[in-house]
């Protein structure tokens, strides 16, 4: 992308700039937020059931997996890479955790640690293959999508792995804190930690610089390979977190769950204003993007759109949103 020097004298940031245009051009996700409001109003008008506290809690619970994984994906995409393997990591982490709990007794903490470790480890492999061998992450993680999913089927013999551990269910899905369902607490925690990490730490600055211009980052003394590896590991770790919540919800880990979930995750991140070319994006944007996906999934069911149409409508809305955000650049 070549940048032409503007001939006109510096009038950038001039007070005459139209505030609406400035908002549309801003990296802050005003437009996505507006889109979310429009969707909520739309479904509320069509169905009285939609606009209720109970349903919003529903949406929150249903969006948990996408939101948590989208936070990790935001780091990966801002660093100018992509992770297509998140849904497969979720399967493999989940069944590893469940198998551990099935075979080694009651210790759910160790089981959870195993699940998280598996996810992080696969992220590490993704990162190493991408940076050390220089294979585009699109291909590395496409391959990993198959490898992790295949392994999940192999070690479970394609059968669901049942979990029978009340404490585990409570910690990851069924409990409440201050009246809030625990999945929402997990989502809030991941969003907060992710937001602080991206926006308030030195590591966050490195992620933006690596994705914005890897050469300039390297020339500034940043180890861009390491930054990317950490991003993939974070994505893997958060897929592991999601797998535990998922397993606690289903009382089992199943290798055939969550197929295609990576598309919802990537869509949420892109809807939230993160640039596929790297260097731009926010956690709050990703959160709003996930809510849009969640509201769509929930609202379409409530107003009685058939599940076949739901898939098509969701795809269409994503294309429109991305086309819109591409136009403003």
């Amino acid at each position: 992308m070549s940048t032409t020097t503007p001939e006109a004298p510096a009038t950038v940031g001039d007070s005459r700039v139209n505030p609406v245009k400035a908002m549309l051009k801003s990296d802050r996700p005003y437009t996505v937020f507006a889109a979310l409001i429009v969707l909520v109003v739309f479904f509320s008008v069509l169905s009285p059931v939609f606009f209720s506290a109970a349903n919003f809690a529903n949406i929150g619970r249903q969006t948990t997996l996408v939101t948590i994984m989208a936070v990790g994906m935001t780091f990966v995409i801002i660093s100018a890479e992509i992770d297509l393997s998140v849904a497969s990591i979720l399967k493999l982490s989940g069944v590893c955790a469940a198998l551990f709990m099935q075979n080694f007794g009651e210790n759910w903490v160790l089981g959870a640690v195993v699940g998280l470790a598996v996810g992080t480890f696969i992220g590490l492999i993704n990162g190493l293959l991408t940076t050390r061998l220089g294979i585009p992450s699109f291909l590395v993680t496409l391959g990993m999508l198959g490898v992790a999913k295949g392994l999940a089927f192999v070690i479970t013999d394609t059968a669901p792995v049942l979990i029978d551990n009340t404490a585990f269910f409570k910690v990851f899905y069924e409990g409440t804190i201050l009246g809030l369902p625990i999945p929402i607490i997990w989502t809030a925690a991941v969003l907060t930690i992710g937001g602080v990490l991206l926006h308030f730490t030195t590591f966050g600055r490195k992620v933006y610089a690596t994705g914005g211009n890897a050469v300039a980052a390297r020339y500034s003394g940043i180890n861009t390979s390491r930054v990317k590896i950490y991003c993939f590991m974070l994505s893997g770790l958060l897929a592991g977190v999601a797998s535990l919540i998922f397993a606690a919800q289903a009382h089992a880990a199943r290798p055939d769950f969550a197929d295609g979930l990576e598309l919802d995750v990537i869509a949420a991140v892109i809807l939230g204003g993160t640039s596929l070319f790297g260097g731009r994006g926010t956690i709050i944007g990703t959160f709003i993007g996930s809510l849009i996906i969640g509201v769509l999934n929930n609202g379409l069911v409530i107003i009685g759109v058939s599940s076949s149409w739901q898939i098509a409508v969701k795809g269409l809305i994503i294309i429109l949103a991305v086309a819109f955000s591409a136009r403003k650049r």
Binding site: A10, V12, G13, G204, G212, G221, I222
Partner: protein, 516 residues
Amino acid sequence: MTEAKPLIDMRDITVSFGVVRALRGVNFELHPGEVHALLGQNGAGKSTLIKVLSGVYQRDSGDVLIHGEQTQFKSAQDSRESGIAMVYQDLSLVPTMTVAANLFLGREPHGPLNLIRNRGLVSKAQAYLDEQGFPVKANASVDSLPFAYRQLTEIAKALMGEIKILVLDEPTSALSAGEEEILFEAVEEVTKRGVGVVYVTHRLHEVFRISDRVTVLRDGLNAGTFETADITMETLVQAIVGPGHEKMTQSTLSFEEGQRRSALLDASSEQVDVPPVIELRDVTNDRLNRVRLKVRPGEIFGLAGMVGSGRTEILETMFGLRRTVEGELLYQGEAVAWRSPAPAIRSGVALIPEDRHLQGLVLSDTISANVALPQLRGLTKFGMFARRESNRRAKSAVSELNVKAPGIVTKLEDLSGGNQQKVVFGKWLTPEPKLLLLDEPTVGVDVGARDEIYGIIRRFAQAGCAVVVISSDLVELEMLCDNIAVVHDGRIITTVHTSEIEGEEGLHQLVQESAR
């Protein structure tokens, strides 16, 4: 110069963008066989004028007469059909294809069954290139060509058809001193056949080398049109900069600069043992061959040579981007083996790279974020990014370096070239570097900002920093440096003290001789 009908006659052109009046009544004329240079600082209106000529912008008022006829170009296509060819800075060739395939892209000669006749393509292209007098092989792949020859291919492509007017927009900005000649000879060939050339440039010596006339624009107005033979560098600079900038020529050094130079001279004449900041002892690697050099604190050391001579690789080796295979790299008297820029930066080495867009800046990020990049380690408190301290540094960099921007959260992509370059310098202000490496620090920077950058470089040296500068602009090197090494083929051919060189020509000769 013939006073026949001019090829271009632009009269009283005005163009506005909203409230900004980019052109306020500009006149410009071009005769057949003439090279007419167009000069001016960034924002003076050069590009706008060229874009009116090429149909990209529409004028608000005024007349454009091409071959004596009134015209109103609505698109680049219209302009092309009137016989005007533009060659832009950004190359429009497909690098993986041959010169011939590029020349005939989209209009390849066809044989039976409508298949492309490759052999015919090459011979046809070669005949055309020979006829133009361009020394380029038609069957060469474009990415195998040195940059100057790619540019010739570009010009050859632009000239295909009934072209009478050629517009070159900063054609030498990516070329080294030696390569320029190739381009100039091609331009001379072109003018012999009656083609008029509009030559937009920032480099004044080129104006004297190649143009017949010069038009200078300033603030959207004509600041004068001169016969090149009748003017001096000083008059030209004055016309570009306007009144109130007489200091421009740098003929008078500041008091501090004079002090720095005499202190340096004293130190060397009295054999005072000032240890060098950086010393290369027979450093050899994949691109360098037994390179030896020393730079002391406060010294400005120049590296001259053609593009591809190994100049940049010497800097890269000093910055940890290349390994030292044989020989020793001593930093502050100690042998070091840096394997990435990070340890070099921690030890106080700073690099202003050649390509600021590619290597120097994150354009999508703010001034503040860019300035913070090399010092993130020092800007971390309890794992958190010290935003306030970072903003404070960015603010002081903006004011110290006179960056013209609305604020420190302005994105780099919204700044002009000169201001972007100042931000690259801003990355290395705190903590003060001990060794500053500069690769072509003023490429694509207008005359005014260029002068400020010289001032910045000198201030670093005055503060005791050792500075190494690469430049293809030999005048610049001679003006800035205390010592200059001429590099060729990964070796240092000779090192001279600037006082031993007789003007730009002397240095030019050294560089030319080294290449033989």
